[in-house]
Symmetry: C2
DNA sequence: TTCTAATTCAACCATGTGGTTGAATATAGA
DNA sequence: TCTATATTCAACCACATGGTTGAATTAGAA
């Protein structure tokens, strides 16, 4: 059910590649917040904060519920799970020394059967 | 030991926010490759590929070993582990319904003690 | 209705990004 | 030594990004 297509991942990783936005997510992990509440800790204009929030929303990382004139934002964890899952593919590379040995063997293997049939998708 | 400071995370997430670079990492997960080997599947110039590789290197996601005139690249998993770990902080938000209930309670809690002492760092 | 608060929009700016091409560098091989 | 290969560098371009300011929009509150 978790989507791993590129456009989504692009947006998610891009959104996460900014400290301000990561801090906003951190804020939302304790409770939902309005736009002004999210903007408050930062020394930037409300308009700038609004743009950051739109980036998070575009990546699907947050959801917004308009209540009168205030916009209430809350975390939407799905895309984070996708990113997490994408990274998990590489988990064996950092987990154990044993896996490292295994990897070496697979490398030799791959090296033997020259460059026929590149199964790499993303 | 895993570093979670912002500049590193910025570079890592930024590097991951591009399909070409993610595909390059995918290639490197089966075996180490030279610059030209990494560039081959893409319809871009070698110079462009070289830039992508530099971005991955800057993020610490790959290591390069110069062997004569060829540059051999291999995966460096550490920073991926950092990103993975960063995301893990939010794991409870997507794992179980029970955690979702717990989160609601924490939200109410946070809401009660107004906005005093924002402990949010990133 | 009128004032004020919450948020976005639009225009603008400096800088970054991903791509190009052509030249430069350095090494392997004849 | 001469030539071909592997890679980077430099200059350039179009467009995205993150920021600004000031005006517009919308909805509570008086």
């Amino acid at each position: 059910m978790v989507e791993l297509e590129s456009p989504q991942l692009n947006a998610v990783f891009h959104a996460l590649g900014d400290v301000t936005r990561r801090r906003m997510l951190r804020q939302l992990s304790s409770s939902e917040r309005t736009v002004s509440e999210l903007a408050e800790p930062f020394d930037i204009s409300l308009a700038a904060a609004s743009k950051h929030i739109k980036a998070l929303e575009a990546a699907g990382l947050i959801r917004r519920e308009v209540r009168g004139r205030t916009h209430m934002c809350r975390l939407n964890p799905g895309p984070m799970a996708s990113a997490h899952q994408w990274l998990s593919t590489y988990e064996r590379f950092w987990t154990s020394r044993l896996d490292l040995l295994e990897q070496r063997l697979r490398e030799d293997d791959a090296r033997k059967q020259s460059q026929t049939s590149e199964g790499d998708k993303e």
